[in-house]
């Protein structure tokens, strides 16, 4: 059975900037259509929790049946969110920090407009590498 990891970056105005399915190969016994609903529902929880801590990493922000949602909010209030079934805080934290780094590099690219979807293939590749490294 596949391990589920779905990663999204959500910008200002709840605009979706980037989405990646980092799940391992294999058949899932649930419907992948649920992913977006659960992540979407967790957005409000992120907004509620972000002011309760000084950390960027918010740990678990929401649960739905056997799904967990972890969140990470950058200083510019860009939300990195990960949907997963296994609890593994340290790895998820490391993953978020690495993707945060990658996001900053993307932001410094003069051809990237702030709060627009990220189409860079280099970014996509490196996020997937980070996913392989930390989330397997």
């Amino acid at each position: 059975m596949a391990t589920v990891y779905v990663f999204v970056i959500v910008g200002k105005g709840d605009q979706l900037l980037y989405e990646a399915d980092l799940s391992s190969a294999g058949k899932r016994d649930d419907s992948p259509h649920l992913d977006q609903f659960i992540l979407h529902a967790a957005l409000d929880m992120v907004d509620a929790q972000v002011f309760h801590t000084q950390q960027m990493y918010l740990k678990l922000v929401d649960k739905f049946n056997e799904f967990f949602v972890s969140g990470y909010v950058t200083a510019g209030h860009i939300k990195l969110m990960l949907l997963h079934k296994h609890r593994n805080e340290d790895n998820i934290k490391n993953f978020f920090q690495e993707v945060h780094d990658l996001y900053i590099r993307t932001l410094l690219n003069p051809f990237y407009e702030v709060n627009r979807p990220i189409y860079s293939s280099g970014f996509d590749k490196r996020v997937k590498q980070a996913g392989k490294k930390y989330l397997t």
Binding site: L108, N109, F111, Y112, Y119
Partner: protein
């Protein structure tokens, strides 16, 4: 004068210069280029504009270069190319270039840049394939040489931003400009 001599002169000149954060430079140049892209409709006219801006920088910068670098007159165009590659680029951008690919008349060569601080953070989208991102540098070289009576043409032929292995600037000597004397009595 030898290459080693120029390399050393470049180091000395660089150490005398005021420094500015590389990130500040890269981001400023980046916003300049993207603003030009917004203002102009065609990418080709952005290249032209960047080259013109470089030219205007070059005609001023050459005086500072000659004053601070302590480089004497060049014997020939090969000498000039070496001075640009090893001293001028080092002094203002802290990079050096290799001069290769001379033609048989010794009037055209290629400068292979080892690094380009303007390219930092930059990732060109596929739609910008025609953009010559660093074209400003070519303008500076053309402007600078024109002030010392050499007309050259200068342009990027390879760019790491476009997936090439190296960044290369083609430099071609055109003519020596003659001083024009205007007789006021006539």
């Amino acid at each position: 004068m030898s290459r080693q001599h120029y390399l050393k002169a470049g180091e000395v000149a660089f150490s005398k210069m005021d420094k500015v954060s590389a990130e500040l430079l890269a981001l400023t140049y980046g916003s300049l280029v993207t603003q030009l892209l917004k203002d102009k409709e065609e990418i080709e006219s952005v290249n032209v504009q960047l080259e013109k801006m470089g030219y205007n920088i070059g005609i001023r910068l050459v005086d500072e270069f000659l004053a601070k670098s302590g480089i004497g007159p060049c014997q020939d165009f090969r000498d000039t190319a070496e001075v640009i590659a090893k001293v001028a680029l080092k002094m203002f951008l802290n990079v050096t270039a290799d001069v290769t690919g001379w033609n048989s008349d010794l009037t055209a060569c290629t400068l292979v840049l080892h690094d380009n601080p303007l390219n930092e953070f930059v990732e060109l989208p596929a739609s910008m394939a025609g953009l010559k991102y660093g074209e400003l540098i070519c303008g500076v070289i053309r402007g600078g040489l024109e002030q010392v009576h050499m007309r050259v043409s200068c342009t990027f032929v390879k760019d790491v931003l476009k997936g090439d292995d190296t960044s290369e600037i083609a430099l071609e000597f055109k003519e020596i400009l003659k001083e024009e004397f205007v007789d006021e009595d006539e």
